[in-house]
């Protein structure tokens, strides 16, 4: 009985996610669901993109948190248009929350909308939001065992961004193990090693985002179903 309810909730969520996706597509916007543990560096990465995507891609952020608007305020100080969603204790964003945020968004002004999910390496993975791409962050101080221990989060993702590379020399972290474990769950995943604080590794990540946006636009121009 509970399982049926859970399934119905997920089914209803996926229908709204489909509508969100159509809305992104209709405006040529790449929706990117950004997930990771608390403190994995999601907001810091987005702040950094204000510099690194400048003149390349126009982007906005939908920001999810249990409480506070701290992160949206941080992003706005970096010159990024941000919409804060407070889940009121909820452990993940859902498609309906994103739909509400999109009601006010002038999507046509942007190439990419990043949806920064609640910091949580478990629950957000079950909920489609309407994104075309899923990106998961894993910080070096979290440890190289996390892909094996939290497999649903790393299943079916497009990019894995290993963050806080500047701390690599102070902690034990085998990036090879992380990449190997991730490829079992997401064979095509792109893996990036970045430090958003000093900018190292950002060029590759920015190139990937630009390529994914071009790919979406080309597919939409052909009237094909985007991947």
């Amino acid at each position: 009985m509970d399982l049926i309810i859970a399934k119905d909730i997920l089914k209803a969520n996926d229908q709204i996610a489909g509508a969100n996706r159509a809305r992104f597509d209709g405006n040529g916007v790449l929706g990117v669901n950004v997930m990771g543990s608390p403190g994995s560096g999601k907001t810091t990465l987005l702040e950094r993109l204000a510099v690194d995507l400048d003149g390349k891609l126009r982007f906005a952020v939908i920001e999810g948190d249990l409480a506070t608007s701290n992160d949206a305020e941080r992003l706005e100080r970096a010159g990024i248009q941000a919409t804060q969603i407070n889940t009121g204790g909820g452990c993940h964003l859902d498609a309906n929350m994103v739909a509400k945020a999109l009601e006010r968004a002038e999507l046509v002004s942007f190439d990419v909308v990043f949806i920064e999910n609640v910091g949580n390496l478990v629950c957000p993975s079950s909920y489609q939001l309407g994104e075309r791409r899923r990106v998961v962050l894993l910080s070096t101080p979290e440890g190289d065992d996390k892909v094996a221990k939290y497999p649903p989060m790393f299943t079916g993702i497009d990019a894995l961004v290993i963050t806080k590379a500047d701390l690599h020399e102070y902690v034990e972290f085998d990036a090879g193990r992380v990449e190997k474990d991730a490829r079992v769950l997401s064979p095509e995943v792109k893996v990036f090693n970045v430090c958003a604080k000093n900018g190292s590794g950002m060029t590759d990540f920015v190139s990937w985002l630009a390529a994914e946006h071009r790919r979406l636009k080309a597919m939409l121009a052909r009237g094909a179903e985007a991947p």
Copy 2:
């Protein structure tokens, strides 16, 4: 309707938690629910306690993870008796899982049983497991904004252990802000700054555990309801 079901689940959980608590009490065992983000250092702290509690308190661990028995194996290599619970994707432990683990445990052999919850700064906070004390870990690289952003986890807790103190000099982290935010949610909370890797700050945490165990024993001896 959904809310009623959620309430019923929590009520059923709390009843089983009460039975777990009675079982701990009946054996003079202090049950400690250990929570925190993925990679906050929960298992490393427990490994370290094998050294620092040696000859002071006898303890065992109930270890919760979505998948793998990596952490229980780590603890056993440190000489700690560990029981692994796999939640099969579930984002938190519940009282029933702990009850199953306790069926096999020879509780009378231990002074403390640590229940290491799934790495998650949201969901575990809603579920009583039968613990007498709640401990939350927050690692310095996670950032000093996390108490404000994840308030339910830091509400009604007994100890906040700030971990990875050895990384403090490489990251921005205002321990005063963390303590101040935590006291709003848990006025009596004890705050510890530790590095389980080099052992700094462990003495205070060990003294607190020993005092809490003595307090429980004294109350049980008087036949009083433990706090």
